[in-house]
Symmetry: C2
Subunit: 147 residues, 2 copies
């Protein structure tokens, strides 16, 4: 099993602001995928659609201002059954986001790609909360021939 890990700090933002960006349609469509819908309660499924395909995330846990846990229930074969967790805490003047996409069966080349891509989307989340404007798909930062 292999995991993708990331850490960012959102400056001058409250835990609630960052939590909202991870748990509302308005927030999630502002930094990850413009084409996004779904039920935002525990047990609900969030549907993110990208040009090449999409991801369906079942919400397993929601602890306001603290923790969010999703399970991938549809999408690329390598993603299905993996989990995405978000942990929030305050440090200095920052809300720190600890991100983990865990449970990859093999460190395939697609995992290398997704690791870098997650980093750029996390920077999009940071920018969204700090400035009001993120870079969700299709306005996302392109990193390679795989977009």
């Amino acid at each position: 099993m292999a995991d993708i890990l990331h850490r960012i700090g959102v400056k001058s933002a409250s835990l609630d602001d960052v939590y909202d960006a991870l748990t509302t349609v308005e927030g999630l469509s502002g930094w990850w995928a413009t084409d996004m819908r779904g039920e935002t309660e525990v047990g609900g499924v969030l549907q993110f659609r990208f040009l090449p395909g999409g991801f369906d995330m079942k919400i397993l846990e929601l602890h306001p201002a603290k923790h969010v846990l999703w399970e991938v229930v549809d999408g690329p074969e390598e993603w299905i059954g993996t989990r995405v967790s978000w942990d929030l805490k305050q440090e200095d003047d920052f809300t720190i986001v600890l991100f983990k996409h865990e449970g990859w069966r093999e460190p395939v080349e697609f995992m290398y790609h997704c690791s870098t891509k997650w980093a750029t989307f996390l920077m999009s989340l940071k920018t969204l909360v700090e400035t009001g404007t993120g870079a969700p798909e299709p306005h996302d930062v392109k990193i390679s021939n795989w977009h």
Copy 2:
């Protein structure tokens, strides 16, 4: 053991251009650390200096236009003994870089930070080769209270 993985594609660049950015003082100081010196042959040690400290990388392998392998011989305690590998290949109109920072003993919070930070430095490498200007420290993208 835990690894950081990343993948980028450098558009309209040759394998040699990207290899040069990974193996010369001019290249490495153009995307990672402005304050950088060292011996660039196998067995040499590259010294990268950042505001909070630095990293010394011993060059273990150099296969032109293909593969570079470093071992961290000095720096943060969590980094010492880990290895950084770079694999290059051509795909479509891109030179693909597969990056691995392997052998972390534990997935500590600093590893989460370094994973995101490596992603931003890889984007700096991409921009350097594509445009002639990267964003090496101290001009690097700040991602959190840890810089």
